[in-house]
Amino acid sequence: MLFFSFFKSLVGKEVIVELKNDLSVCGILHSVDQYLNIKLVDISVPDTEKYPHMISVKNCFIRGSVVRYVHLPAEEIDVQLLQDATRKEVAQLKSQQTAQVAAPSK
Protein backbone atom coordinates (compact mmCIF):
# COMPACT_ATOMS: atom_id res chain seq x y z
CA MET A 1 0.00 0.00 0.00
CA LEU A 2 3.06 2.27 0.27
CA PHE A 3 3.11 3.25 -3.39
CA PHE A 4 -0.67 3.43 -3.63
CA SER A 5 -0.62 6.05 -0.86
CA PHE A 6 2.41 7.70 -2.40
CA PHE A 7 0.75 8.15 -5.78
CA LYS A 8 -2.46 9.35 -4.15
CA SER A 9 -0.43 12.13 -2.55
CA LEU A 10 0.73 13.19 -6.03
CA VAL A 11 -2.75 13.57 -7.52
CA GLY A 12 -3.00 16.88 -9.39
CA LYS A 13 0.74 17.00 -10.15
CA GLU A 14 2.32 16.68 -13.55
CA VAL A 15 4.10 13.38 -14.24
CA ILE A 16 5.52 11.51 -17.22
CA VAL A 17 4.54 7.86 -17.44
CA GLU A 18 7.00 5.81 -19.46
CA LEU A 19 5.63 2.49 -20.74
CA LYS A 20 7.49 -0.73 -21.46
CA ASN A 21 7.02 -0.14 -25.20
CA ASP A 22 8.99 3.15 -24.84
CA LEU A 23 5.89 5.35 -25.24
CA SER A 24 5.99 8.30 -22.84
CA VAL A 25 2.80 10.06 -21.82
CA CYS A 26 2.95 13.39 -20.01
CA GLY A 27 -0.10 14.54 -18.06
CA ILE A 28 -1.69 15.55 -14.78
CA LEU A 29 -2.15 12.62 -12.38
CA HIS A 30 -5.91 12.31 -11.95
CA SER A 31 -6.26 9.09 -9.97
CA VAL A 32 -4.60 5.81 -9.09
CA ASP A 33 -5.92 2.49 -7.79
CA GLN A 34 -4.54 -0.39 -5.74
CA TYR A 35 -3.01 -2.07 -8.84
CA LEU A 36 -1.23 1.22 -9.53
CA ASN A 37 -3.30 1.70 -12.67
CA ILE A 38 -2.99 5.38 -13.44
CA LYS A 39 -5.38 7.91 -14.91
CA LEU A 40 -3.89 11.02 -16.53
CA VAL A 41 -5.70 14.11 -17.81
CA ASP A 42 -4.59 16.75 -20.34
CA ILE A 43 -2.03 14.41 -21.79
CA SER A 44 0.61 15.05 -24.40
CA VAL A 45 2.92 12.63 -26.13
CA PRO A 46 6.36 14.01 -26.94
CA ASP A 47 6.97 11.59 -29.80
CA THR A 48 3.79 11.84 -31.92
CA GLU A 49 5.76 10.94 -35.04
CA LYS A 50 6.30 7.47 -33.70
CA TYR A 51 2.98 7.17 -31.86
CA PRO A 52 0.41 8.97 -34.06
CA HIS A 53 -2.55 7.17 -32.49
CA MET A 54 -2.19 9.23 -29.30
CA ILE A 55 -2.80 12.58 -31.05
CA SER A 56 -6.58 12.59 -30.56
CA VAL A 57 -6.55 11.47 -26.92
CA LYS A 58 -6.96 13.98 -24.05
CA ASN A 59 -7.37 11.77 -20.97
CA CYS A 60 -6.19 8.22 -20.49
CA PHE A 61 -6.16 5.20 -18.21
CA ILE A 62 -2.87 3.30 -18.13
CA ARG A 63 -2.75 -0.25 -16.81
CA GLY A 64 -0.21 -0.53 -14.02
CA SER A 65 1.45 -3.61 -15.49
CA VAL A 66 2.59 -1.80 -18.65
CA VAL A 67 4.40 0.96 -16.76
CA ARG A 68 8.20 0.99 -16.71
CA TYR A 69 8.86 4.32 -14.98
CA VAL A 70 7.00 7.33 -13.71
CA HIS A 71 9.01 10.56 -13.79
CA LEU A 72 8.04 12.53 -10.68
CA PRO A 73 8.21 16.21 -9.74
CA ALA A 74 11.23 16.10 -7.38
CA GLU A 75 10.34 19.38 -5.65
CA GLU A 76 6.98 17.95 -4.53
CA ILE A 77 8.48 14.97 -2.76
CA ASP A 78 9.63 14.85 0.85
CA VAL A 79 12.28 12.15 0.62
CA GLN A 80 12.73 11.95 4.40
CA LEU A 81 9.02 11.25 4.84
CA LEU A 82 9.17 8.68 2.06
CA GLN A 83 12.09 6.82 3.64
CA ASP A 84 10.38 6.80 7.03
CA ALA A 85 7.16 5.51 5.44
CA THR A 86 9.16 2.75 3.75
CA ARG A 87 10.80 1.68 7.03
CA LYS A 88 7.42 1.70 8.75
CA GLU A 89 5.80 -0.39 6.02
CA VAL A 90 8.65 -2.91 6.01
CA ALA A 91 8.54 -3.22 9.82
CA GLN A 92 4.78 -3.70 9.72
CA LEU A 93 5.09 -6.43 7.11
CA LYS A 94 7.76 -8.17 9.18
CA SER A 95 5.70 -8.10 12.35
CA GLN A 96 2.79 -9.60 10.43
CA GLN A 97 5.04 -12.41 9.22
CA THR A 98 6.33 -13.01 12.76
CA ALA A 99 2.76 -13.12 14.04
CA GLN A 100 1.86 -15.71 11.43
CA VAL A 101 4.83 -17.88 12.37
CA ALA A 102 3.93 -17.58 16.05
CA ALA A 103 0.33 -18.60 15.43
CA PRO A 104 0.47 -21.09 12.57
CA SER A 105 -3.05 -22.40 13.18
CA LYS A 106 -4.49 -20.13 10.49
Partner: protein
Protein backbone atom coordinates in the same frame (compact mmCIF):
# COMPACT_ATOMS: atom_id res chain seq x y z
CA UNK B 1 -20.36 -10.78 -3.79
CA UNK B 2 -17.36 -8.84 -2.54
CA UNK B 3 -18.21 -5.74 -0.61
CA UNK B 4 -19.19 -2.88 -2.81
CA UNK B 5 -16.53 -0.47 -1.61
CA UNK B 6 -13.65 -2.71 -2.60
CA UNK B 7 -15.18 -3.36 -6.02
CA UNK B 8 -15.66 0.34 -6.59
CA UNK B 9 -12.16 1.09 -5.37
CA UNK B 10 -10.65 -0.33 -8.51
CA UNK B 11 -13.39 0.22 -11.07
CA UNK B 12 -14.21 3.81 -10.16
CA UNK B 13 -11.51 4.80 -12.53
CA UNK B 14 -13.28 3.35 -15.58
CA UNK B 15 -16.92 3.67 -14.57
CA UNK B 16 -16.76 7.36 -15.46
CA UNK B 17 -15.78 6.45 -19.03
CA UNK B 18 -18.84 4.35 -19.76
CA UNK B 19 -20.66 5.21 -23.02
CA UNK B 20 -17.74 7.39 -24.11
CA UNK B 21 -15.83 6.88 -27.33
CA UNK B 22 -12.50 5.42 -26.31
CA UNK B 23 -9.27 4.45 -27.93
CA UNK B 24 -7.83 1.22 -26.58
CA UNK B 25 -4.22 0.25 -27.14
CA UNK B 26 -3.72 -3.47 -26.62
CA UNK B 27 -0.51 -4.97 -25.30
CA UNK B 28 0.36 -6.25 -28.77
CA UNK B 29 0.28 -2.69 -30.08
CA UNK B 30 -3.06 -2.80 -31.91
CA UNK B 31 -5.39 0.17 -31.61
CA UNK B 32 -9.17 -0.16 -31.29
CA UNK B 33 -11.72 2.64 -31.15
CA UNK B 34 -15.25 2.07 -29.90
CA UNK B 35 -17.92 2.94 -27.37
CA UNK B 36 -17.32 1.53 -23.89
CA UNK B 37 -20.52 -0.16 -22.74
CA UNK B 38 -19.36 -2.13 -19.69
CA UNK B 39 -16.37 -2.75 -17.41
CA UNK B 40 -15.72 -4.93 -14.37
CA UNK B 41 -13.12 -5.16 -11.61
CA UNK B 42 -10.63 -6.92 -13.93
CA UNK B 43 -10.97 -4.12 -16.50
CA UNK B 44 -12.64 -6.57 -18.87
CA UNK B 45 -14.38 -4.37 -21.43
CA UNK B 46 -17.36 -4.41 -23.76
CA UNK B 47 -16.77 -2.24 -26.82
CA UNK B 48 -19.54 -1.46 -29.31
CA UNK B 49 -19.21 -0.24 -32.92
CA UNK B 50 -15.50 -0.93 -32.74
CA UNK B 51 -13.01 -0.13 -35.47
CA UNK B 52 -9.39 -1.16 -35.62
CA UNK B 53 -7.19 1.75 -36.62
CA UNK B 54 -3.86 1.03 -38.28
CA UNK B 55 -1.21 3.73 -38.43
CA UNK B 56 1.77 3.61 -40.76
CA UNK B 57 3.79 6.81 -40.70
CA UNK B 58 1.42 9.68 -41.42
CA UNK B 59 -1.26 7.46 -42.93
CA UNK B 60 -4.01 5.60 -41.15
CA UNK B 61 -6.89 3.31 -42.07
CA UNK B 62 -9.95 2.03 -40.22
CA UNK B 63 -11.28 -1.53 -40.33
CA UNK B 64 -14.83 -2.05 -38.98
CA UNK B 65 -14.77 -4.78 -36.31
CA UNK B 66 -18.11 -4.57 -34.46
CA UNK B 67 -18.83 -5.74 -30.91
CA UNK B 68 -16.02 -6.92 -28.63
CA UNK B 69 -15.55 -8.33 -25.18
CA UNK B 70 -11.90 -7.69 -24.31
CA UNK B 71 -10.15 -9.53 -21.52
CA UNK B 72 -8.68 -6.93 -19.20
CA UNK B 73 -5.09 -8.12 -19.14
CA UNK B 74 -4.67 -7.44 -22.87
CA UNK B 75 -5.32 -3.76 -22.38
CA UNK B 76 -2.41 -1.32 -22.09
CA UNK B 77 -4.04 2.11 -22.45
CA UNK B 78 -7.58 3.42 -22.59
CA UNK B 79 -7.80 6.92 -23.97
CA UNK B 80 -10.72 9.27 -24.13
CA UNK B 81 -11.00 10.59 -27.69
CA UNK B 82 -11.10 14.34 -28.08
CA UNK B 83 -12.62 15.20 -31.44
CA UNK B 84 -11.32 18.73 -31.07
CA UNK B 85 -7.76 17.50 -31.31
CA UNK B 86 -7.66 17.23 -35.06
CA UNK B 87 -6.21 14.56 -37.24
CA UNK B 88 -5.45 16.89 -40.15
CA UNK B 89 -1.74 16.15 -39.97
CA UNK B 90 -2.63 12.54 -40.76
CA UNK B 91 -4.03 11.17 -43.98
CA UNK B 92 -6.86 8.65 -44.08
CA UNK B 93 -6.45 5.93 -46.70
CA UNK B 94 -8.45 2.86 -47.76
CA UNK B 95 -8.30 -0.45 -45.88
CA UNK B 96 -6.40 -2.08 -48.76
CA UNK B 97 -3.81 0.68 -48.87
CA UNK B 98 -3.17 0.71 -45.13
CA UNK B 99 -2.90 -3.08 -45.00
CA UNK B 100 -0.37 -2.99 -47.85
CA UNK B 101 1.62 -0.28 -46.08
CA UNK B 102 1.50 -2.26 -42.83
CA UNK B 103 2.65 -5.43 -44.53
CA UNK B 104 5.59 -3.58 -46.08
CA UNK B 105 6.52 -2.03 -42.73
CA UNK B 106 6.39 -5.40 -40.96
CA UNK B 107 8.48 -7.08 -43.63
CA UNK B 108 11.11 -4.37 -43.40
CA UNK B 109 11.29 -4.69 -39.62
CA UNK B 110 11.33 -8.46 -39.84
CA UNK B 111 14.33 -8.40 -42.16
CA UNK B 112 16.21 -5.92 -39.98
CA UNK B 113 15.58 -8.02 -36.89
CA UNK B 114 16.59 -11.23 -38.62
CA UNK B 115 19.83 -9.68 -39.83
CA UNK B 116 20.66 -8.34 -36.40
CA UNK B 117 19.75 -11.54 -34.56
CA UNK B 118 21.80 -13.63 -36.98
CA UNK B 119 24.84 -11.42 -36.58
CA UNK B 120 24.44 -11.44 -32.82
CA UNK B 121 24.14 -15.25 -32.71
CA UNK B 122 27.30 -15.60 -34.79
CA UNK B 123 29.12 -13.56 -32.21
CA UNK B 124 27.75 -15.49 -29.29
CA UNK B 125 25.37 -12.76 -28.20
CA UNK B 126 21.86 -13.47 -27.03
CA UNK B 127 19.42 -11.79 -29.38
CA UNK B 128 16.37 -10.29 -27.76
CA UNK B 129 13.33 -8.47 -28.99
CA UNK B 130 11.13 -9.94 -31.70
CA UNK B 131 9.59 -8.26 -34.68
CA UNK B 132 7.75 -5.12 -33.70
CA UNK B 133 8.91 -5.39 -30.11
CA UNK B 134 8.83 -1.63 -29.82
CA UNK B 135 5.03 -1.76 -30.05
CA UNK B 136 4.41 -4.64 -27.68
CA UNK B 137 4.44 -4.65 -23.92
Amino acid sequence: MADLDSVLAYTANLMSDIDKKLMIVLKDGRTLIGFLRSVDQFANLVLQDTIERIHVGKQYGDIPRGLFVIRGDNVAILGEMDDKKDLTQLQKVSIEDILDAQREQLQRRDEETKLRNQAMLERGLQPHGDVGSEDTL
